[in-house]
Amino acid sequence: CKKYLDETPQGVVSSADLTTPANTDAMVTAAYSYLGNDHYTYPFSSMWAFGSIRSGDAYKGGGGSGDVVEFNEYETFSTNVITNASSDAVFYQLYVGIARANTALTLVEGQSVANYPQKVEREAELRFLRGHFYFLLKILFNHVPWIDETLQKSAASYGAVSNVALTSDQLWTNIANDFRFAATNLPAIQSQVGRASKGAAQSYLAKTLLYQAYTQDDNNNVTGIDQTKLAEVNTYCDSVINSGHYSLNPDFANNFLPQYGNSSESIFSIQYSKNDGTPLGRLDYGHCLDYPMNVQYGCCGFHVPSNNMVNAFKTGANGLPEFDTFNNTDVVSTDGYSSNTFDPRLDHTVAIPGHPYKYQTALLYDASWARAPQTYGPLLSMKETVAYTDPSFTRFPPFMSSSKDWEIIRYADVLLMKAEALIKMGQENAALPLINEVRQRAMNSTALLVQANGQPTSNYKMDIYKPGVNCTWTNDYAWQALMFERRLEFSMEGYRFFDLVRWGIADTYLNSYFAVETTRTPHLAGAHFTKNRDEYLPISLNQINFSKGLYKQNPGW
């Protein structure tokens, strides 16, 4: 009769079943899988909700300020709260990614090289993945608990690790060490393109060191810049650049078109898929709110480029951006698209009424495609979307998205990271060709920006920086150029806010943005960036309570 109560669990495996080499390798795949497990309520693919709508580049969009109110709190800063559900969700989700990496690391470390020849390489891949998830946590929350595979997994041991056990700098060092291990042990080229390569690890290491180089005090003030780290950034960027494996795509558009996935510019990207045996496909769910509200699409009108962002694409008579004056006249409210000249990246990035949507000359974007034009104006972001006719496009009503891969680091970023390091090291002349390489490609990227009649969509006038001809290339000027170039090249790609914080200008930049932008759109009424607080999201009240008060709240919150 004893056996009567023995019920074997159905359809599941126990942790003991995972120790075979095959299942261990499957757990590495599971760790990779989490790269693509984001969702529109915690989009950690492009970080648009955390890095774009907090940066002055974009409004939240959607059906009014109450539609995903968490993101509205991000956008205004002044209304953000320690109980913001998206902050708690993204914190948890990134730790799920870390937990998957740690679980797989434990299993991989338990294998012998004889049974599992790919052991070291897989360790390197997993530490790369862990580094990625920690990097995102770090730029969002600053102080987070460091959990790695050396810690026995249990509620008691994990719960004993405080978010302030390590200093901010020590956390950066740990993240850098993960990438450093990966950079040392990964092959230059992976036979499976979705796996991290040496170049990916070196690039991410450079990115980590670049953030770490800008030292901050306990109140989020940038206090200095670490030249040694900058030199390392330069070195690792050089390794990537000189590897010969990477180059800029000939057309800027290729980075945002599904058919060019894993291109020469792609250093590491999230691999999405469809028709893959999952119910809807392993799609890019993080961006599924960002499509327009017309019959070809239908939801949900989020992520709206700000007027300020559109104005930034204006070029002067010399084909260069207008660092100080770009925002003095407003293109959007004056319908100044034909009376101004623009950087071509405008029409790759922003959906503008009357302009072809996503290079479809027969499908002109219309103001009526916006969700709440009375609140957020007529524009939408386009880099993350695809043509509705594209095979990667998938509907899952009311939402839709695509299986288009999403770049976490592309080669242009490596070039501009190196340029940033060089300028901060006083070598602005060495930075010039890097910035110009990025600009030259942008200048060349007009082939797809045509209307049905073959005419260019907008008036494009753009030039590279030519010291002595159209500019004076001082260190200060170069810094202006670098900051502006990053904004234009990566606009709406989700990292702008973190650039502003890294550079220590978030408060002045955003409050002056709000001062002007509030007069253009009423939804920003009351928005204000609080210095020494809003540089980082607060640690969620839930987590502080779950930790029984062990976690310490970020300054100002």
């Binding site: 009567y4 109560l5 019920e7 159905q10 599941v12 495996v13 126990s14 942790s15 499957a26 599971a30 899988s33 693509g36 497990n37 969702h39 915690y42 009014g64 109450g66 539609d67 109110v69 002044s78 209304t79 709260v81 914190f91 730790y95 937990a99 509620a155 994990y158 499976q192 979705g194 599904p258 894993n262 691999q271 999405y272 898929s273 469809k274 893959d276 045996g277 119910p279 809807l280 392993r282 769910y285 019959v295 239908g298 495609w369 969700r371 009375q374 609140t375 990667s392 899952f396 009311p398 299986s403 891969d405 509030t518 939804h523 009424a525 839930n542 987590q543 309570n545 779950f546 029984k548």
Partner: protein, 1019 residues
């Protein structure tokens, strides 16, 4: 001449009455009816027989010429003390009960066509609350004595002795002979596991010895909705939008740069004075078409009217029964069809039953069975979406485009689908449910007082669902893909019970012993698949093999087992002193081997004070008085089957549209499609130390009858403590997925009382009336929770927690009113978004700023008390019954207020007519905040603004019946009744509740008024 006269005495439910005294007045010869209600006396023509029974007016019959058999029916049921009550594997007489047991008068509810007998019990059983919407399939949530635990609070159902967790919506209401509700532990403990939330015992009808009858019941109902919400019509919506925009321009966020409403709204234009300081609207101009392509003419659609209907509900049942000393049989069929008040919804139910038993060796061996089959068909429509959409879809959208396509949202509106389309495009998707449930038993009298009974039961239930998703275009919403889905599941529960009972009568002492054993095994499996790319959009074509792309297959299963031993002894002395003791040892597969078994004891005592001589002699008005006390423990194990194990699952990928993906597949090869490499996902952390959750309950009770049982009543007071509550608390994020772990971590207490009072009155011989009222209340308190999980419950997780409060506590901001002057705005605490016409929140901690620290406990959703009042008035052959039920107190979160009162929280949706009364400088008395298009003040926050009184009083049921028996004397008919009745006809609610029905605050499937006409015949 003298002769033998025999017959059967029964009550109005055709239940045989044993113990009725039959006296021949002239000879004073007396006899007593036997267990089957039978009597046999010798009397002469012209003599008088007097049938007397405790507490009832005697019936006097003259022996006429030719009188040989006499069947006597006691219509009044002034006393039911001798009523036999099924109380756990055995039965007892009601007078001997020592627990808190409510016997439902099945007669009161048998004609109420709710599709679920339990639904009709709302308010009739003190301490029992039913939560149900109006959906035709009759699903309900039942709570006895409040919320007892943090997991499963559903009562256990015992149908013909077999425990089941499925409700009664699958049972033919006409097959139900009796319903008993065991509320306290002393009576429920015998059911041990799963009995903590109370037990509802159902006995189905059986053939009766010596009878042969045919029962036919038929009813038809008309149902409709009488509490509609009032969304704005097309012109009103335009007005509200205009008002919101000019408010924003006048004193709202865009004072600096006013926007003309005609410009900002993509659809309406306005004739107005363009004066931002004193705006006047002359007219709202509606365009001819709402879309640029001119396919959708501007409409004034009342979406609720489009989706709802007045509909028919039909209910038929036929029962044929036969009884003889050798055995009884009963066969019944039932048909129930509810068309639903939302178009194309509905429920069709077919029931069949065969109950029989056979006696051998002079009744020493009895073999019997019950067998029931149910087949239900339900169209699967997204009804909650449909009802909500009917309130928020913009009225200007036409149902159809000019060329017959679907109307739908256009620019500036939210992505809300056309609810009529949702109905039409889903009506072909029908779920079929089948259930076969039955048991067979052998009862052997080893000695006259020693019975052995063994029962085997099987409950097999399964669903088959096939659906076709059709391609569509509705405004800017569209999906060109079609999809077939098929899913099946089945659950089989096998129960085997063995029990031994022994009755011992030693003079005044009566003993009853029970020992038993029970094994229950449950298995569940499911399978579902879908495919796209069908060549035809036709449900008859839509099978899986017709799909060509996106083929997805899933399946799973689970199982659990229970093994129990139990014993019970009852003792009564001289019908005065009663005692019983129960012990049950339960083992569950859900716990680790160390904690599998738990022992649940119970005991109770009773004292029938009215049997004492000093009462009999001195207080003759007391016809019955019993004091009771019971104590007992019950268990709960209703958690995930494998909670003791740490597990990984091969989750390849989820449908991640509304929630994130927990899949483990990844396109490492970068191919973009095809089968992907994948791994395993951690799904839970095992806790091998898990053990049973235990509920300990004390019950103090009192039953009484006064004035020959004209007044009867009962009172119960209970204290219910649940400890080691099985919870799966939220956990520290760093643990990642699968960090969820079941713990025995919380305790909770419920205290309350239940009172039932009844009065039976006969004004004259022809006029009778009966009033029964009940009132019940309970207070819930969380007494223990691990400190780190407090955040998962109302409160701030540290200083303000749910500990010591009801689990149903509400926590949030306090609304003080609306800012009505610039001075008030300037002089109030810092509040991001404050302004004229905006909600003013109270600075609870007086720190000069409104933030999350300005929240507090606002009350609970537990009602102060619940009550019911049933009145039955008879005049000759007419009978009028009306039943009121109500809830007093308790807060209800009226989430629809987001739309009735605000234009900013869902600016692309339709709003309620209350927006037209919102605050403006010209309408300064309004308590509805000024309309705005931008919610800068975060007014959707959890606050007292949305918490409203949940009190209501409803006329649940009113029925007028006419007994045709006298009219149809010539036909040999035993019973013939016609009746008309109505359910939910009247409703009274607190004026502070701004929605239509506080019983259905989420505006789920509306609760209809059901008006019924029906007949019952017995031959």
């Amino acid at each position: 001449q003298t002769r033998q006269i025999s017959g059967i005495v029964s009550d109005k439910n055709s239940q045989a009455l044993p113990g009725v005294t039959v006296v021949v007045l002239e000879t004073q010869k007396a006899t007593i009816t036997d267990a089957g209600g039978k009597f046999n006396v010798t009397a002469a023509v012209g003599q008088t027989l007097r049938f007397s029974y405790v507490g009832v007016k005697p019936i006097i019959v003259k022996v006429a010429d030719g009188t040989k058999t006499l069947n006597i029916v006691f219509k009044e049921s002034a006393t039911d003390l001798n009523e036999v009550v099924v109380t756990g594997y055995t039965s007892e007489k009601k007078k001997d009960l020592t627990g808190a047991v409510t016997v439902v008068n099945v007669n009161d509810i048998k004609d109420i066509p709710e599709g679920n007998a339990v639904k009709a019990l709302q308010g009739r059983v003190p301490g029992m609350t039913i939560f149900a919407d109006g959906s035709p399939n009759g699903a309900v949530t039942v709570r006895l004595r409040g919320t007892t635990t943090l997991n499963d609070n559903d009562p256990l159902y015992i149908i013909d002795g077999i425990p089941t967790e499925r409700g009664l919506q699958e049972i033919n209401q006409n097959d139900i002979e009796s319903i008993q509700v065991l509320r306290d532990a002393s009576s429920a403990t015998i059911y041990g596991s799963r009995a903590a939330a109370g037990v509802i015992i159902i006995t189905t009808k059986k053939g009766k010895n010596g009878t042969q009858r045919i029962d036919f019941n038929a009813s038809t109902s008309l149902q409709y909705y009488n509490s509609k919400l009032s969304p704005l019509n097309t012109i009103q919506h335009g007005q509200a939008y205009w008002q919101a925009q000019v408010n924003d321009d006048e004193f709202g966020p865009n004072v600096a740069s006013p926007i003309d409403p005609s410009v900002s709204n993509g659809i309406y234009t306005y004739d107005w004075n363009k004066n931002y300081s004193n705006p006047q609207l002359n007219s709202v101009i509606v365009p001819a078409y709402i879309d640029a392509a001119h396919t959708m003419k501007s409409a004034n659609t009342n979406w609720f009217n489009e989706i709802s209907q007045t509909s028919i509900l039909q209910n038929y049942s036929l029962t044929i029964s036969n009884g003889s000393p050798h055995g009884n049989s009963l066969f019944s069929v039932g048909y129930y069809n509810d068309k639903g008040i939302i178009k194309e919804t509905g429920d069709t139910k077919y029931n069949a039953r065969y109950n029989s038993d056979y006696n051998f060796f002079n009744g020493r061996l009895k073999i019997g069975e019950t067998l029931s089959a149910t087949y239900m068909k339900d169209p699967v429509l997204p009804t909650s979406s449909i009802t909500i959409l009917s309130l928020i879809e913009n009225p200007i959208i036409p149902v159809h485009t000019v060329d017959g396509g679907w109307g739908g949202p256009v620019a500036g509106m939210d992505d809300r689908d056309n609810p009529v389309r949702l109905i039409e495009d889903n009506k072909q998707n029908v779920n079929a449910f089948g259930r076969v449930f039955g048991n067979a038993y052998i009862d052997l009298a080893i000695l006259p007082n020693l019975h052995f009974k063994t029962t085997y039961a099987a409950d097999f239930a399964g669903n088959y669902f096939r659906s076709l998703q059709l391609p569509y275009v509705a405004g800017f919403l569209s999906n060109p893909a079609n999809q077939v889905g098929q899913s099946t599941d089945y659950e089989v529960t096998e129960t085997w019970q063995n029990q031994l009972t022994y009755d011992l009568n030693l003079g005044k002492s009566k003993f009853n012993f029970l020992a038993g054993e029970e094994n229950i095994k449950d298995k569940y499996q499911n399978f579902n698949a879908s495919a796209q790319g069908l060549a035809l959009n036709n449900i008859d074509y839509a099978y899986l093999s017709a799909g060509t792309t996106n083929i997805v297959v899933n399946g799973g299963g689970s199982g659990d087992a229970l093994l129990s031993y139990f014993g019970k002894a009852t003792y009564s002395y001289d019908d005065k002193y009663l005692a019983s003791a129960t012990v049950r040892r339960d083992g569950s597969s859900k716990f680790g081997s160390d904690n599998r078994y738990a022992v649940f004891p119970a005991g109770s005592v009773g004292w029938r004070v009215s049997q004492e001589d000093f009462v009999k002699d001195n207080m003759p008005f007391i016809s019955d008085l019993k004091l009771r006390y019971g104590w007992g423990q019950t268990g709960n194990q209703n958690i995930n089957n494998n909670a003791i194990y740490s597990l990984y699952q091969s989750i390849y990928g989820n449908a991640a549209a509304f929630s994130g993906d927990s899949g483990s597949a990844y396109d490492l090869n970068g191919k973009g499609s095809g089968t992907l490499p994948s791994g395993f996902t951690s799904t839970q952390t095992g806790n091998p130390k898990l053990k049973w959750e235990t509920t300990t309950q004390s019950n103090f009770g009192l039953d009484f009858g006064l004035f020959n049982n004209k007044f009867t009543g009962s009172f119960d007071y209970f204290i219910k403590n649940t400890t080691n509550i099985l919870i799966e608390p939220p956990y520290l994020a760093v643990l990642g997925e699968g960090g969820n772990e079941y713990l025995n971590g919380a305790s909770m207490e419920n205290k309350g009382f239940e009172t039932l009072l009844s009065y039976n009155g006969n004004i004259t011989h022809d006029i009778t009336f009966n009033v029964t009222g009940n009132i019940a209340a309970y207070r819930n308190k969380v007494t223990k929770l691990p400190s780190d999980v407090l955040t998962g419950y109302p409160g701030n997780g540290t200083t303000e927690t749910v500990l010591g409060r009801s689990i149903n506590s509400e926590y949030g901001y306090v609304v003080q009113g609306i800012f009505t002057s610039a001075a008030e705005v300037a002089n109030s605490a810092a509040q991001p978004g404050k302004g004229l016409g905006r909600i003013r929140y109270e600075d609870l901690n007086n720190d000069g700023v409104i933030d999350q620290n300005d929240q507090k406990f606002l009350g609970t959703s537990d009602p102060n008390f619940t009550y019911g009042l049933n009145t039955s008035i008879g005049y000759k052959d007419f009978n009028l019954t009306f039943f009121f039920q109500g809830v007093e107190g308790g807060l209800v979160y009226n989430s629809y207020k987001y739309l009735t009162d605000f234009t900013s929280l869902a600016p692309g949706s339709n709003w309620g007519t209350r927006t037209l009364q919102a605050w403006t400088p010209q309408n300064p008395k309004s308590t509805i905040p000024a309309l705005t298009l931008i919610d800068a003040n975060n007014e959707g926050r959890y606050s007292t603004y949305f918490l409203e009184s949940g009190s209501y009083l409803k006329l649940r049921n009113i029925q007028l019946a006419y007994d045709l028996k006298n009219a149809l004397k010539k036909i040999k008919i035993q019973r013939a009744t016609v009746y008309i009745q109505a359910s939910n006809l009247l409703k009274f609610k607190s004026s502070t509740y701004t929605g239509p029905d506080p019983e259905n605050p989420g505006n789920a499937y509306p609760i209809p008024v059901i008006t019924t006409i029906g007949v019952n015949f017995s031959y």
